[in-house]
């Protein structure tokens, strides 16, 4: 469950969907009797020189699946790197189980990271790669444990082929197996569904759901709304380094429908069509262009119902209708700009 509210009393409400997180909750105090969130991000900013990758982001996350949704370059990976201690925030505090993974080596043993980059120790077999993960987590029976988690991700522990010769999808599964080998409390997976075929994707999503339902905190990043929808998760929308919205998939879908839309219609009489739709208040704005007309509307459903009857009444031909901003990028842009 994602929550951008404060852990200590009194917890302020989570920002409504589409609302930027404009408050900076302090990290829980050491003597807090309230349970520490599994993941806590408090007023975090990360800059690389003049480029601000993450800007004043705050949220807390508990057990279950939470998706970090945003376009490429939004700051998701930077945020994940800070959570795992791989990078230090320029400002703010990042905590896993109440600890800073950058300073506290022990807490890293409770994190499972699936990094975005494709790199593996290419000369090792999958079994050897995961065994290295098990040994470096201090597990007692690394060979058996490695074989066990490879089975969980549908890979053969007996395969001697080096992982350098694996397909992208198999490499993703090797990374996931290595991340699960220590039975972590917090699993951080950066674009884990990239490169998987539909069957593998379905299996992986089911595994994430299973892990989430077992009480683990599963943080998954993605730039694909449909993937996030299938995870059935809470969503943190991050765009241009800022936390743009929180909620579940349905909240986000509604947001996509409720925001202003722009539609291009190719027609033989753009002026007549534009004037009539404006007169009936079905369109909020009209722009006549060379091959048709562009409409702005906040009620996409009413627009869809009205356009054909109006065209028939005016005896105007509709040659084409294209939504100009029906993609996730435009939603992100809208969230950031509003």
């Amino acid at each position: 469950m994602a929550d951008s509210s404060l852990p200590p009393p009194p917890p302020p409400p989570a920002p409504p969907v589409g609302q930027p997180a404009d408050h900076v909750p302090p990290p829980p105090s050491a003597d807090s009797r309230i349970e520490t969130p599994l993941v806590g991000v408090y007023g975090v900013t990360k800059a690389f020189g003049d480029v601000v990758a993450v800007s004043d982001v705050s949220f807390t996350v508990g057990p279950g699946i939470t998706a970090l949704l945003g376009p490429n370059g939004a700051g998701k990976s930077t945020l994940f790197r800070m959570l795992c201690g791989l990078a230090a925030p320029s400002q703010g505090t990042v905590q896993i189980l109440g600890k800073d993974a950058r300073r506290d080596t022990a807490v890293r043993g409770r994190i499972g990271l699936v990094p975005q980059q494709d790199a593996l120790f290419d000369r090792l077999s999958a079994q050897a790669f995961v065994e290295v993960a098990a040994i470096t987590h201090g597990l007692d029976r690394p060979r058996e444990r490695a074989a066990e988690v490879l089975g969980v991700v549908d890979l053969d522990p007996g395969e001697r082929k080096p992982v350098g010769a694996y397909s992208k999808g198999m490499r993703q599964r090797v990374k996931l197996a290595a991340a699960l080998v220590n039975d972590p409390d917090v699993i951080i997976a950066d674009e884990p569904l990239n490169g998987l075929d539909p069957v593998q994707r379905k299996r992986m999503i089911a595994l994430f759901r299973e892990l989430g339902e077992s009480g683990k905190c599963v943080l998954v990043s993605s730039h694909v709304l449909d993937e996030v929808a299938r995870l059935g998760s809470d969503i943190l929308v991050i765009a241009q380094g800022r936390l743009a919205a929180t909620g579940n998939f349905h909240d986000l879908r509604a947001l996509m429908d409720d925001r202003p839309h722009r539609i291009h219609i190719a027609t033989n009489d753009p002026r007549a069509l534009g004037a009539e739709l404006l007169r009936r208040a079905i369109a909020d704005g009209v722009r006549v262009i060379e091959d048709g007309v562009e409409f702005d509307t906040t009620d996409i459903e009413a627009f869809g119902l009205a356009i054909a009857p109006v065209a028939r009444e005016l005896d105007v031909h509709l040659n084409g209708l294209v939504p100009l901003d029906d993609d996730l990028e435009s939603v992100f842009r809208y969230l950031v700009e509003r």
């Binding site: 790197r81 795992c84 201690g85 791989l86 990078a87 230090a88 993974a101 080596t105 022990a106 807490v107 890293r108 043993g109 409770r110 994190i111 990271l113 990094p115 980059q117 494709d118 790199a119 593996l120 120790f121 290419d122 000369r123 090792l124 290295v132 993960a133 040994i135 470096t136 987590h137 201090g138 597990l139 007692d140 290595a178 220590n182 039975d183």
Partner: protein, 247 residues
Amino acid sequence: MAGSVGLVRSTVVVFRVLLGQLRSPARLTGLGLLGVLSMVISWSVGSGADPSPVQHLDNATGVITLFTFTLVLPVIALIFGVGALGDARDDGTLVYLWVRPLNQISVVFGAWLAATVISLPLIVIPAALSALLLDAGSELVMATLVASALAVVAYSAVFVMLGILSRFAVVLGLVYVLLWEGVVASLGSIGAKMALRGYANSIVTSRTGVRTELANSAESTSIIIFAIVTVVALLLAAARLATLEVD
């Protein structure tokens, strides 16, 4: 489920992984040829005109210190030392060591062991064979063996550290080897003290009695300096690794 990771166990696993990563056929072949080249040069000098035994020993020692110790040894140590952690940093695999509950000392120590173990045979065997082919007596062979082995240990530590400190470690390393040790060090005693090659040459001088470039220490001093340089470089590398931003 996870437990604490012992220093020895984690060092061994890091060593095994990084040794495997360093063992690329192209790198082994290229650097192996450098060793072969040193042997060919030694053979040609060894089988050439022989003015006198003393002159021959001088010439033979010159070949070892001016070619093997100036070029072959530091360049091979540089490629493997920088590559041990630098490659992992560049290709993103360092993440798999960094996010684990490991002491950074074990990561650096494992990397240094890997670099040293892979460099040693590629440096020491051709160096010793070169000394043999020069046919200048067993003293030069033993001196070359001891000096090159000790120097590899120290050079590897310095270059492992450099691989963590900079993304341009190979270039910086070459500047140190070719410019500092090759040119600057010969201009004054302070520069010579900061050249590892001087301490390797000192061991050769101690054992053969032949005066070599930059040699101005006793053998025991050279061994102590190599040990200090190794420990300090590894500690600095571990400290840097702990604060490194890993991609």
